[in-house]
């Protein structure tokens, strides 16, 4: 048994860690022991308790990192589920192929990206990670194997994509990579003064820009922020210089994100980005994964950890609900440091429990101040619920069960595909077992 945390560092409970490194031996290792359910754990980048299982088993998948086959004519890559998105990007971009969808960090496993059906800055164009998976090999704790894909056992596929690891252990996957001309992007950075401007920019960018995202200043309820958009640069071939990573060297005794630092940070960041406003060229790594260069940045929130809160709100009420959430945050004084606002495209996700749906998504993080933070999050919940939105389970550690049930209407269908030998803190909290 050893203490394990997730990215939010809210808990450090003991887990029985079972490393998986031989895909031919997975079935033996995860076989249900009586009363000892387990859950897959990869890079530990999900923020809340989706991959935690205190006093139970954690099946560590990072050793399952072998690539199995690549077809250079079709761009299909078959790999084990512990393979890192970073390694796939670095290996295949020089060969003219890349992952079609990646989240804000590339330090995640393929299995985690499928189980949380992650999305990226190009959701309006290419949907979420699960849209590009052609095949999954799943091993259940009763020893059975299930092969599934968009047209093979498609109901198992829809349960497993975004299925929070609860349908079985994903051992292998086949990903359709997309052709790329290289690692460079043409970017444009545009400041916006309020939410109306944001939505105008988002709408007008969706046709012509592959990647859109924005940082929003939570310390002012006006909704000012910085909009960033990018397209692949087809011409630049120069090899990138990959700078070395830095590491947050220690856990400070208190959160470095606090009322004294937030206002100056937000002010400085906004003005720095305004200064950079205009056109530019960026390498994909700093543009897509800006925080990966500071390894273990989650430590800056101090020993109590932090909460992530990501919601999606249908478009018709998106602006009002976002405005209302910003107002609540300002009122509470619990500012958020890395607030991200983005519109999703109109494509419905494949997964029964996939998070992305048409609308606008706001991601926030708050240092854990106990009850004070919980009260604010409860008020945000009320806004999300009224707007018929939903919360992202991969980032959640505290949403009430009724909000989960209201946000995910295919939940009852999903339950049929659960593996009885798999359970997480999140599944016990939100699904009752």
């Amino acid at each position: 048994m050893k203490p394990i945390s997730s990215w939010g560092r809210l808990s450090h409970d003991h887990h029985h860690v079972i490393p998986l490194h031989d895909r031919h031996n997975v079935a033996n290792l995860i076989k249900a022991k009586s009363g000892q359910p387990g859950i897959a754990y990869g890079m530990g980048r999900s923020y809340g308790d989706v991959a935690l299982n205190p006093n139970g088993s954690l099946w560590l998948t990072t050793g399952l990192n072998h690539l199995i086959h690549f077809d250079a004519s079709t761009g299909r890559l078959r790999c084990e589920s512990g393979a890192l998105l970073r390694d796939i990007q670095r290996l295949f971009i020089p060969r003219g192929w890349m992952l079609p969808v990646t989240p804000g960090t590339q330090m995640v496993t393929v299995g985690g990206a499928i189980a949380n059906d992650v999305h990226g800055k190009n959701h309006h164009l290419l949907g979420s990670f699960g849209d590009h998976i052609q095949h999954i090999r799943l091993i259940r704790t009763d020893g059975t194997e299930i092969e599934c894909g968009p047209s093979l056992n498609s109901e198992w596929f829809a349960a497993t994509v975004g299925g929070l690891g609860l349908t079985g252990l994903i051992v292998e996957a086949e990903i359709q990579l997309r052709p790329t001309s290289g690692p460079w992007l043409d970017t444009e950075t545009i400041p916006y003064a309020n939410l109306s401007e944001f939505f105008e920019l988002a709408d007008s960018s969706e046709m012509d820009w592959e990647h859109t995202v924005s940082w929003i200043d939570c310390m002012s309820n006006k909704g000012q922020g910085i909009f960033m958009r990018a397209n692949p640069n087809e011409d630049l071939k120069e090899a990138p210089k990959i700078k070395s990573e830095k590491k947050m060297p220690f856990v400070p005794p208190i959160s470095l994100v606090n009322s004294l630092t937030l206002r100056p940070f937000n002010f400085a960041y906004r003005n720095f980005q305004k200064y950079k406003a205009g056109f530019g060229i960026a390498h994909y790594e700093p543009f897509f994964y800006p925080l990966d260069k500071l390894l273990e940045w989650n430590r800056m929130y101090g020993p109590k950890g932090f909460y992530q809160y990501q919601s999606v709100i249908p478009r018709n009420v998106g602006q009002d609900a976002t405005q209302a959430m910003l107002k609540e945050i300002e009122k509470s004084g619990e500012g958020s440091f890395l607030a991200v606002l983005k519109t999703f495209g109109n494509k419905e996700s494949i997964g029964m429990l996939s998070f992305p749906k048409p609308g606008v998504t706001l991601a926030l993080d708050f240092p854990n101040h106990g009850l004070r933070t919980h009260k604010l999050l409860d008020r945000l919940d009320a806004i999300v619920k009224e707007a018929k939105g939903r919360i992202y389970a991969a980032k959640d550690a505290r949403m009430p069960r009724e909000l989960f049930e209201a946000g995910y209407p295919k939940l009852n269908e999903f339950i049929k595909y659960r593996d009885a030998g798999i359970s997480s803190s999140l599944s016990r909290r939100l699904l009752g077992s």
Binding site: K2, V17, P19, H21, G63, H66, H69, L77
Partner: protein
């Protein structure tokens, strides 16, 4: 001079060895011969290397780690028709110290697989490389071999055997074109250590593999990886017994 390096890796399914193989494959112009006991596992490693580097030649050889006759034969075969340029000897196990104290059979097999077996492989490669006056032998030892400690002296003693053996080979080949590199990794975050407390803070096998491949290229005699372990172990080796014996390490 031929352009393709032939590299033999004993215990190629170990994390550190596999990461060395990935680095070599991605550098290109190598032929990798993966040796181990389990065909299926070796084939998984080989397929991975071929996806990473489609033009690399990868071969899988099943062998035995214990039987001196088989070790001799296996290595003889590796040198025909072409000689091996680099031999990385990487196999080993890491059982619980307490289990080794209670179970002499486990104790014996730990000493054998981590100590005697790598020494025999090194000697077999040395026979061929001495004749050719050409080649590199790299053996994975451990910082645990630097001083016996109550928490892991069975494993440590086997790795200590490797330390002396490598020293002897280095002395023997001092004025030749044969190079012997002893690698002493500190605690590494591999499946072998996943259940240990704090293992997520250990060095990654990728990082260790980078140091190993660069060290072999530079014909280094001893590589501590990460490098800080050279200093730590120097202190540990020189601590007076009265202080050392009070430490719970």
């Amino acid at each position: 001079m031929k352009n393709t390096k032939r590299i033999a890796i004993i215990g190629a399914t170990s994390s550190i060895a596999e990461n060395c193989a990935r680095i070599w494959a991605e550098q290109g112009s190598v032929e990798l011969i993966l040796l181990g006991r389990d065909q299926k596992k070796l084939e998984v490693v080989a397929a991975d290397l071929l996806v990473r580097s489609p033009n690399t030649k990868v071969e899988v050889v099943i062998t035995n780690f214990i039987d001196p006759t088989i070790i001799q034969k296996t290595v003889n075969t590796l040198f025909t028709p072409d000689p091996i340029d680099i031999a990385l000897i990487a196999h080993g196990t890491l059982p619980e110290q307490q289990d080794c104290q209670n179970n002499l059979a486990l104790n014996y097999s730990t000493l054998e697989i981590n100590g005697i077996s790598p020494a025999l492989y090194a000697e077999a490669f040395a026979q061929h490389m001495a004749k050719l006056n050409q080649g590199s032998i790299a053996i994975i030892g451990s910082v645990a071999g630097d001083r016996g400690r109550k928490s892991n002296y069975v494993y440590g003693a086997s790795k200590g055997l490797i330390t002396r053996y490598a020293q002897g080979l280095q002395h023997r080949f001092a004025n030749s074109n044969v190079h012997v590199t002893l690698i002493k990794p500190g605690p590494t975050n591999t499946p072998m250590t996943a259940e240990m407390k704090g293992s997520e803070k250990f060095a990654s096998p990728e990082e260790v593999a980078k140091a190993i491949t660069a060290g072999i290229d530079a014909n280094k005699t001893v590589i501590y990886t990460p490098a800080k372990w050279q200093l730590i172990m120097m202190v540990i080796r020189h601590l007076p017994r009265c202080i050392f014996n009070k430490m719970n390490i």
